[in-house]
Symmetry: D2
Subunit: 346 residues, 4 copies
């Protein structure tokens, strides 16, 4: 059994990790920690775990690294980079669900996150844990940067088009819609029920921190620098992300041409499901699962391709992909514990 | 592996069965049928199953009974009773999710359902499959009547009080609240999004068909005839039932007195979770699970006990309990395939 | 024009008052105050008022009383009673949307609100402003206690039955369901979107502070002391209250008997709408209006009457009724500014 | 008093018209018709009108034209064009809320609507009733084509940029989000509560019928042909449209440059509210009103402008704008009956 520790287990991503690992046949949760609820029974913080006994401990990553085979970090940005050290990495694997190790370029990190990066020496050995793209690079790493929710959905949706040079890389626009769990469990007027319910808004237009992450990964795929527009929206629902992506085609490609590109990269990917022509992804079809559904339309009137991708932001967009990364790291079947079909209607 | 057939697999209860059995380690889905979608790929009807290949067949229960160890019926009332015959019961086990075999008294069935009962000869051998109450009677049966959603929640909430004669059986009032999946997938103005969303209503006041089912089972527990008030309400959410139950206490019992009664019956029941004093069940804490959460308050001002019970109507209130019944029938661990913690937030 | 002041204009009830009074043809808003947002433009706090210029002032009730014909107080309990003095009442009319002046019996207030009452000398001259019941008493008062939301709905639903002695007053149970605006605009985990959405729960069982208010008013109607059960529930929607009320009939009354009682009191009440037999109130049909819809069923099986009442908690349950009280106080048509039909679908 | 008739009063747009006109001080509803509910009391179809007496009549437009000063048509496309004749136009004004008279080019109509246009002779005299843009052309017309919901929001959001030639007209992308009332009251699996709730999807990608309407109007503004991308999305809420619009700037314009363009056209428009820099429209701030809120961001990284516009689809996007058109036609204050502030929270 893999012994897992979770630091920050009482946020939404952390709680989804607890849930997924509870169902995982080859993992045992050794330690969970919480700053806000230390000493409390996890089942009193998340009463879906009412039937269990599990105490939220005070975090001590060094001690945890001695008993855990892997430690998941579900922390605000700027915190993880201060905790991970060479010593810890010698003891255990780290899968960080936060932003600190996602960007290769620490200057870009510091510019978008408006804070200094505290672990630049570790950056070179981290890998961006988007499993379908970087599986081979993940295998032997000590530390994985688990991708963001919007980024997972956006990159998977656009990767084949960029990689195969089918689109004008200066024309990319991503209009993304997220459920409210993406904002976490911290209370604010912006997540107060009556302020969110029955309304839709764009936010952080042209300034959301997932933008450089998407750009960096797609630039790597393209082999040249990509700058794009990314606009997140808040949708009155709990879970789910839909990314609607627009790009101008480099030539008058047919539906079949584009389809071939997607199949080239995803045909054998269990967790990526291409929809049939004329069928578009809906977040309800991926809820509670690790799947990413992708569909696209070729619009000959504008010579654009419009791609829509859907994921569950807490599952494939956070905890599920973290477990997928763990499975790869420990060389067990990548689907272990996360292959369940989506839950509908829920 | 248990070979399972599902008749009526494209309703919400049927689809939840497909999902649960897909995750069940000791079952294999042999046949699924659908009247509305016969010949179609299940993954095009329920696109959460987009990654699978499973054809909705035309129903032929006799042929199915030859290849299936168990057949689940998820059909409108009045249909199941016409399909189940002695011959079929000799071949396979039947778990009926509909109403036809739930009431022992066929007169009451005919009165409330306004139709004649077509399988009165089979009624005597059926058992009411409320697992926590009737576990022992289920084991060797050929046919199980899986309880209704409101009834499961209501009976589990009141059973110990009735059984232990702590309450005035003429004073029982059940005010129940259900998510909209309880109404099924059939379209109607009453389930049109904008007609349901952002509103709450009572419906079928003093005339809902789950009333005689609750009365019959509680009467058995009491050893005398119980007549009660049951009022269902529609809540703008997908899943979940909360039953708020009121009854006058037969004496001035304390919280501890009542607690003892609940513990007597449920202390060792995995799927029944009693909440702590002052904590009340919420449907979110049981969503996507087979749990029934129960809490209660003793109100000394009115000498009443107020009990609230919460279940997931499609899981413990339908498909999950059906699988629990299957597990009992086939003598495997009752929790197999249905012991996952609830999913939150979703 | 009536000059109105609003103290506490940035809570939900206060903002609904601002909105209703903006549309009121015989009122002018003279002053609005807010503790949290003083000095700010109201249109930046409530952006539905983006097109207006209105500054949130610091509260000075004495100064306000010199320029306002009426002052509305939309404040937390315990605050209003410290502000209202004889001097102020000599200058202006007070309509208090809070709880401080609702209960005649200050001992009961102190017991349920767990604080001392600071204006006991004013209590005797206040009137409980449930317009349909106390209209005549309101006319010449200086201070009106505007009823609570749950209480308005519950009392209107039960009043004719109690007044006409049709029911056993020891058998009353009120099971109420409210949208989340009832909890106000203050943030908390309990009103965080993902914690409320897609779930239902009972709360403050047998201990909600609207209980003594309902009891006191119904006791006055009955001419004897009534103790009852009141259970509030939180529903995942913004607005609306549905009260489902149960009581045992004193005799085997028919539907027509009960109907006569309701018609006796409400036939000429514009804002009370009795539904037809077999039709039950739904909160969507009263949203954005001052109406209270009432329907009932006589259940001969249990000899109970089940009454459901529906209101918009922020309108008839707070700001709308406050304006109705103002209209009565200033002797203008009671419907002025609040007679619009409900808004549906919204 | 203006005597108004409404044909198709029992759809959502029709019912919103009934509601707005009921509150309108200079209008009297003379006749309402409904195909589905003829002979029934309107208050039994829309129970928010429970307190009124109004019968849904069988439609006879010729008779209506003799008694009505204006007739509103709220009908499926292809129906209105068969009803409007020269004779009728000689008797009364027509405001058509449907699509039949919106497109000047009947070839485009026939191509996108896949039906032949039955009133080509009337097309030349119709005017596209987007009040803020075409006010002067509306005044003396006999027939007004009331704009679509998506189109109202999209055109108002982009008009100043196109008119002032600030953007590359080949770069326009509109990503729109709508509440479910946009789909009307007709039942379907696609609007079944549990299928819509808690999910988001794009639909009719590159093929929605509002596309040519937006293109035609913006082409007129630009003085050259515009082809653009329009993608509608369904959001789990009742009302509201948010249009997120992207376009490349023709030069490196500043925020102030763009702002000047918007102010040039909208400074004196009561119903268009420009948000402050850094503040983005949200549909909740316009619900229940005729306002269109518009905000924008200049993204220097991509040299794009991102504009978001928000309206209430049933009000400014349908019935409210229809009444605005009526007010213009009858030369009364354009805001009469529709100037109320938005309702929040609701």
């Amino acid at each position: 059994m893999i012994k897992a520790g979770i630091i920050g287990a009482t946020g939404y991503a952390g709680s989804e990790l607890v849930r997924i690992l509870t169902n995982h046949p080859k993992t045992e949760i050794a330690v969970i920690t919480s700053q806000s609820y230390k000493g409390q029974n996890y089942g009193s913080v998340y009463e879906n775990f009412r039937h269990t006994e599990k105490i939220c401990e005070e975090e001590n990553i060094e001690e945890m690294s001695k008993v855990c085979d892997v430690i998941f970090l579900a922390l605000p940005h700027g915190v993880a980079s201060k905790k991970v050290t060479e010593k810890i990495l010698n003891n255990t694997k780290i899968i960080d669900l936060g932003a600190d190790f996602r960007l290769r370029d620490s200057d870009i990190y510091e510019k978008w996150y408006k804070t200094s990066h505290e672990a630049k020496e570790i950056l070179p050995e981290t890998v961006y844990g988007l499993c379908e793209i970087n599986r081979d690079k993940i295998k032997n790493k000590r530390i994985i940067a688990n991708p963001g929710c919007y980024t997972t959905c956006s990159i998977l949706s656009l990767y084949p088009l960029v990689k195969e040079k089918l689109i004008d890389i200066n024309s990319i626009i991503i209009d993304a819609k997220s459920g409210v769990t993406g904002a976490g469990r911290g209370i604010s007027l912006g997540t107060h029920f009556d302020e969110v319910n029955e309304s839709v808004k764009a936010y952080k237009i042209a300034s959301h921190r997932h933008t450089p992450e998407i750009e960096e990964q797609l630039s790597i795929a393209a082999g040249e620098k990509i700058v794009l527009s990314f606009t997140p929206h808040l949708i009155p629902m709990n879970r789910g992300i839909l990314a609607t992506c627009y790009a101008s085609l480099n030539s008058s490609y047919s539906y079949g041409d584009i389809k071939s590109a997607y199949e080239k990269y995803y045909k054998n990917e269990y967790f990526v499901r291409l929809t049939k022509e004329g069928v578009f992804p809906e977040t309800k079809w991926v809820k509670g699962s690790n799947f990413c559904d992708i569909g696209f339309t070729v619009d000959s009137r504008t010579n654009r391709v419009i791609v829509t991708g859907a994921i569950d932001n807490l599952f494939k967009g956070a905890a599920g992909q973290a477990v997928q990364n763990m499975n790869i790291l420990f060389d067990i079947d990548e689907k272990t514990g996360i292959e369940q079909p989506p839950v509908f209607p829920i």
